[in-house]
Amino acid sequence: MSRAFLAILRRDLALASRAGGGGELALVFFLTIVVLVPFALGPDLNLLSRIGPAILWLGALLSMLIGLDRLFQADEEDGSLDLIRASMLPLELAVLAKGLAHWLTTGLPLALAAPLLGLLVALPGEAMLPVAATLLVGTPALSFIGAAGAALTAGLRRGGLILPVLVAPLTVPVLIFGVSAANAALGGTIPFSTPFLILCALSLAAIVIGTLAAATALRQGE
């Protein structure tokens, strides 16, 4: 059973790294958003550093949504999903493997790139690591909330359009606590750990609920 789980994880990681896999697409989109914002806001460094964490979080959120529609749709179209259904592996674990692979190829690189991109929004040095940490623990929630949406739209021809509409409202709590934890690291009255721990809890809950919801959606079929 763990062999099948690892096989799905390894395959999705390999697919993301191959040409056209879209592994680097999220990172490039993230970079684009973060680079464009300072041009739009003008050279006000105080303003930039104040809204820097929010920009990084928004950028990460939107980048995670890019390409999410293909998570199950690609497998549905080419018949790989039938193969996954045919395995003895419970569908929940297959979804977990796919969600984990999605996070490893999009969320993790975004979190690792955040300190570098923080420079572009004049983030103070001491806030770099906390912001990266909030993205590191917050992006799994985005992957798994997104997985539930992707499973629902797997059978739709133009699911890519409806998916962000479906998923974005559900990510609001993650966004709120992610940005407030990042802001707490910049100073203020709330200790960093309060919103940060809630963010961790949101991620853990999203992994469980998102996995179950996605598996249920895939089981419904047509």
């Binding site: 099948a4 690892l6 096989a7 395959r11 390999a14 193969l83 259904r85 045919a86 003895m88 047509e222």
Partner: protein, 206 residues
């Protein structure tokens, strides 16, 4: 090679009805597919052959009726089956070898290695090529090689002969006969001959 034999199992379908887009495609369909048996599923285009296979895969829910495994009712038929259809389950970015290794890890019950299976279907030279570079017939052969990398009693095939050249059609007929001799069972939707003597015909629609 030692003589291998599958346990005695049968797929039983009773009173199946299929509805697509609100339109009734077929109803009252019943069949039993037991060990060593082959069924050639025929019918005009749009009669519901692929829909029936999709139901057996669990991708489509029957409008009415039941599908179950006689002898192991708690197992979904798909978990004892190989499926090769129009959606061939191959990733174009991965090599033939990688695709087969993935299928083997997923399906379990290891039989031949991916390299051996590719040799049997006559494609030992494409193992390291991404499937996206292969022709339609070669892709179909790689998908058929999946039948050999892990051992499953039921083969559900949708137009298995399509895109295959004559030699490959003979090869597939040989594989199917060997599978039936091992006590396996085959359900194949087809318009042409399968090259199997004892195959029953199940016709959907007029």
């Amino acid at each position: 090679m030692t003589q291998f034999s599958f346990p005695k199992l049968a797929i039983e379908a009773g009173n199946l009805a299929c509805r697509r887009g609100g339109r009734l495609i077929f109803e009252g369909l019943a069949f039993r597919l037991g060990t060593g048996e082959a069924i050639a599923l025929t019918g005009r285009n749009g009669a519901g052959k692929s829909s029936l296979l999709a139901m057996l895969c669990g991708r489509l829910r029957p409008d009415a009726g039941t599908i179950r495994i006689d002898g192991a009712p708690e197992i979904a038929p798909i978990e004892l089956s190989h499926v090769v259809g129009h959606r061939d389950g191959l990733k174009t970015a991965l090599t033939a070898q990688e695709n087969l290794a993935f299928a083997q890890a997923l399906l379990g019950d290891v039989a031949l290695s991916p390299a051996e299976a590719l040799a049997v279907v006559g494609l030992p030279h494409v193992a390291a090529l991404p499937v996206g570079y292969l022709s339609a017939g070669q892709r179909r052969r790689v998908a058929l090689a999946r039948l050999l990398v892990s051992r499953r009693p039921f083969w559900l095939l949708d137009e298995p002969m399509s895109a295959l050249d004559l030699a490959a059609q003979d090869m597939l007929s040989g594989l199917m006969r060997a599978h039936l001799a091992d006590g396996g069972a085959i359900l194949a939707a087809t318009h042409g001959p399968l090259g199997l003597d004892g195959a029953r015909e199940l016709r959907i629609g007029p």
